[in-house]
């Protein structure tokens, strides 16, 4: 029986999701913060925002939303739906789909989609075989 109430691990996952979202929207939040408190911000005080700025540079708002959604799907497939097939499909399928749609340039020569393909496609083939054999047995 699934426990249909909020447990500690749920809060943990929601917390991680919200942190990812906060980092992703940091590009929008930091300029507004600085504009709002422009008079009160000294040069030393603005140093406090540096780690936030550095971390949020790695995310865009859209990628943060996608990553947190994949995290939620992976967690929910374990906790509520209890299927490993859904977990693998959601994680690797999600990564493959979204990198295909929004192909990010990581370095000058490396793109996200071919990088994800290397480990996502074999995993998806594995899950497919697993699903077929599970259905037979």
């Amino acid at each position: 029986m699934v426990k249909r109430r909020v447990i500690f691990h749920d809060i943990l996952v929601f917390g991680i999701m919200s942190i990812i979202l906060l980092l992703g929207f940091g590009q929008l939040i930091i300029p507004t913060l600085e504009a709002a408190f422009a008079e009160n911000f000294s040069a030393e005080a603005s140093l406090l925002l540096v780690p936030y700025r550095v971390l949020s540079a790695a995310f865009s708002p859209r990628s943060a939303m996608i990553l947190s959604y994949i995290l939620l799907l992976a967690y929910a497939s374990r906790r509520f739906f209890r299927s490993s097939i859904m977990l693998y499909l959601s994680v690797f399928g999600g990564l493959l789909l979204y990198t295909y749609l929004y192909n990010i340039k990581i370095t000058e020569t490396v793109y996200a989609y071919p990088l994800i393909k290397i480990f996502a496609v074999p995993q998806l083939i594995n899950t497919m075989i697993y699903a077929i054999f599970k259905a037979e047995s």
Binding site: M1, V2, R4, R5, V6, F25, L28, P61, R62, M65, Y69, L72, L73, A76, R79, F80, F81
Partner: protein, 259 residues
Amino acid sequence: MSTKSNRERKILIKLLRYIESFDSLWFKRSSLDGLKVLVGKWYVFFILSLIISKARNYSTYLYQLSIYAVAVAFILVLGYSKRPYERKEKRSIFSKALDKLILDDRGADDYKSRKGHYVAKRPIIEKTRPRTIPNITVEQILEAMPSCFHVKNQIALNYKRLAQFEYLVIGPTGIFIVDVDNKNKQIIQDANLVSSLLLEEIYPISVISNTEQTLEFNRDYPTIRPTHLKTFMISLPEVYSTEEVEDLVRRIERHMVKQ
């Protein structure tokens, strides 16, 4: 319900019976459970879709965020809302209405069968609450006894042999030897000794003041809690007059050892 005519009620009962027959289908486990849950929480998605339509005009990020919120709500609603088969009471509102309708009308034919169905399903279990026993000592209770009761505390009698008592109570309802927490092992022998001295019937009582200790049934003398001690001694029928009580006390004091 009373305003409705008999015929109307019968038709309503038939209709509700028919709807109730679908209950088993609804509460059965099936692959469409998730869809049922989503349909049940339609208002969540209605509100979110309104937000999407508004957010489109403001900014692209807000629009994307609202779509993200719908996707998250989809997962959370599926996860957290209870499935029909998981409900404690597997009965729809129609069957509840049917019950009310039939139970109101006591003269209806199918009331008996309906009632029997209920009684068989739910055994009556008496809910017992752990009672809190007030923390009162035997000494306090015996101090609060009426003035006609003479209480002797920590006395020793020298009659045939030396016998020590924790409490000896002499009153119009009888003579009692009170032992607290099984300290006196030979309480019956002591009672026999006093009865041979006074030539009267003696009641040995064992009082257990420790709340953690359970009361054990004893054939020879009552074992009670301190709170029941006073009522036990007072509720017995009166045997002695006040003069007789004073005489008994005097006879006891004649054999008491001064400590």
